[in-house]
Amino acid sequence: MSSTGHQWFAVRRDLPPGRRLTLTILSFVLPLGIWCFFSYVPWIWHPDVRIELSADREDVTTVFTAGDHVSRDYFPTFVQAVRDENAAVMALRDSGAAESGAKRKNQKLLRQLAPLAIANGWLPRGEEQNDAALYTLWRDLATGAKVSAKPVLTEENLKIVRDNWEKMSAISPEFSFKTLPETTLLKLLPQGKPANPAYLPEPHQVIITGYHDFTAEPANDAPSMGERYRSSLRIILLGFLWACAIGIPIGILCGVFDFFSKLFEPFIDFFRYMPAPTFSTLLVAVLLAGDAPKIALIFIGTFFQLVLVVSKTTRLLEPSLLEAAQTLGAKPRQLLAHVVLPGILPNLYNDLRILLGWAWTWLVIAELIGVKSGLTEFIETQGRFRNFDRVYPVIILIGLTGFISDQFLAWLHGLLFPWAGKSDRFSRNLVRSITWPVRTLAAAIRKRLAGSPPASV
């Protein structure tokens, strides 16, 4: 590496902008890539089999339906068990023994194809019990009029389809419960494909279910995702704003006057070690169900930290600025308004950004107390059903909201505090254009005043 060339690993040296951007993008692509790698490379991990075509077993209470996961070791046993049951049926059939009363069983067996029909788009969701349509599907698959792509039926299963259709069509080409065969039909053997555990769904699965959950009209009285999102935002913002409204003045007073510091800070310092969630039942008892205890929990979680952080920030203000103002004749109240407040504002703003991040962590607990609500209620419920592909989009939504709002606020920092010296040219120009009318007006007024100075001059 030449002495002028930039090294990737120079101790405490900034990389050139191009490389920084590359690494920033990579920092997001890398974890996504790892996720994709584990999800889409079939021989990596994949300890489960996701069932695409299931079969009910005789005298076994555990029922697997399409979409369920079974362990890779167990799946062949499952398939073999169904195969054995089929063999038993065949044996019975070959023995020529008269058989009856299998209509009900056969109707259930017909429906074995339902998940496959839905996956292939031949049957709308919710029509799992449309026996007439399924009956025709058996015919189409047997004659080869339709070929399933998801999943591709094994030779063994196709043979079973044809075999069954032979039995069924011999009696009736159309579905009718009465005309179902009296003899037991063969079961399709379970089919599935390697899959990772339910807690690691594939990325595309997460995107699809996420899109579905965010756009779908919710069932019953359940709130839509948009309503949940707004309710969560409302709780967090109200809790945070209350904490700010009370905490910032106290924090500044503590930072400026030793009197308030000694009066408030010791207790606050003690109180903040009591975890906010431990007050949850108390808050519900006092404030009853609804949003109030949730907002109060976020308040408790942020308020005490906020006071201490703000007082520390206030104390960090360059003392020589206060002295300079004093030698210019500023009285204590003027010091507070004209020096302390504007002086700490940029740092205070950054403190609040960090504390808003903390408030997000309290949100999850807040939404679980009393009547569960908001995004967390969804996460909690779906998590219990192990529907992690529905959980992740919501978690990502919370993450994105926090991240984007923080990035936005960081950018706004440069805009609001150009004098802090961190603003880029774009922000400065933006401010200049936004404030242009005001500045022009002020300049005009000044000119007018300068033209005709007051009589006292």
């Binding site: 360059e318 020589s320 600025l321 002295e323 300079a324 103002a325 004093q326 030698t327 210019l328 004749g329 500023a330 003027q334 004209h338 020096v339 504007p342 002086g343 504002l345 505090f417 150009p418 004098w419 802090a420 010296g421 005043l449 300068a450 100075p453 007051p454 001059v457």
Partner: protein
């Protein structure tokens, strides 16, 4: 200590002597009497200033110099009202003062400009605090900014200025308040050598054009001699007045005077007051050799 080749620093030319005569006849702007400052520490009481008394006349430029730890910063902070003295009295134009006030301006070594205000707004700070109208404060501020030559930068923020420019703004801000005495606590100490020289000339120029009495704290001998009418030399541990020297260098001052005999003798004398043990220190250097003798390196 003084070299036989140099005149005594007390020798004054007739013009200089006459000037000091006139200066002494002026009104006393600042009088300090019996100023003592004790600090209480866990290891007992430390006396930072011990019975310091002196007077500064109207429109005089007095420097305070002394070895480190002589309490010159403590002294100026007490005078500006930022700290309280244990005992003693400070009078400005015969009025006893306590606490900070707009009658005593201060320029600090660290740039104490308010970073959230533009140059103009910084200069307007004092008058605005005093309740003057925006219009008056602004038109006055413009004049002070012009005085320190920063009209082009009146709408800049401090972080956009160089160190020397920041100190010029600080001076303008202090002067805009029209204090009766201006304290300057090593104002050019943080600047590079070139800027410092420039700023010293600037200060003399400003002082010439503004009716102001200046008390200037420094540790730089050349700076003290170049700027001052009189130099108050302090002793360390405890800080007390060693000598109050009348600088025999005629005004107007210029950098050419640095090599003139009265300049050198005054500088030499103060040096011997502040660093009396310097020759001892040199003798105590260990004599170790890490390389061969080189006739070109002595």
């Amino acid at each position: 200590m003084s070299s036989p080749l140099l005149p005594d620093y007390r020798t004054q030319s007739p013009e200089v002597a006459a000037r000091f005569e006139r200066l002494r006849a002026r009104e006393v702007a600042l009088s300090v009497r019996g100023l003592t400052k004790n600090f209480e520490t866990p290891r007992g009481i430390i006396t930072a200033l011990n019975d310091v008394s002196f007077e500064v006349h109207k429109r005089e430029l007095l420097s305070v110099i002394g070895p480190s730890g002589c309490g010159k910063s403590t002294l100026v902070r007490i005078l500006a009202g930022l700290e309280t003295a244990t005992s003693g009295e400070v009078r400005v134009y015969d009025q006893p003062v306590s606490g900070a006030g707009p009658d005593r301006g201060m320029v600090f070594q660290s740039y104490t400009l308010f970073p959230w205000l533009t140059v103009k707004q910084n200069v307007m700070f004092g008058p605005k605090i005093a309740g003057r109208s925006n219009y008056h404060a602004e038109s006055e501020a413009r004049q002070w900014i012009e005085l320190v030559g920063l009209t082009k930068f009146e709408n800049s923020y401090p972080h956009q200025l160089s160190g020397g420019m920041k100190q010029r703004v600080a001076i303008a801000r202090a002067l805009a308040n029209q204090p009766r005495v201006l304290f300057m606590d090593e104002p050019f100490g943080a600047l590079d050598a070139q800027t410092r020289c420039q700023m010293q000339s600037y200060l003399l120029e400003i002082w010439k054009n503004v009716d102001i009495t200046i008390v200037f704290i420094t540790h730089d001998l050349d700076e003290a001699v170049y700027l001052s009418d009189r130099i108050l030399v302090l002793d360390a541990n405890p800080g007390r007045v060693r000598e109050l020297i009348e600088v025999p260098v005629p005004r107007p001052r210029s950098f050419q005077q640095f090599v003139e005999p009265e300049f050198i003798s005054t500088r030499h004398h103060i040096d011997s007051l502040i660093h009396p043990t310097q020759s001892h220190v040199r003798e105590e250097f260990p004599v170790l050799k890490f390389t061969k003798d080189d006739p070109d390196v002595v």
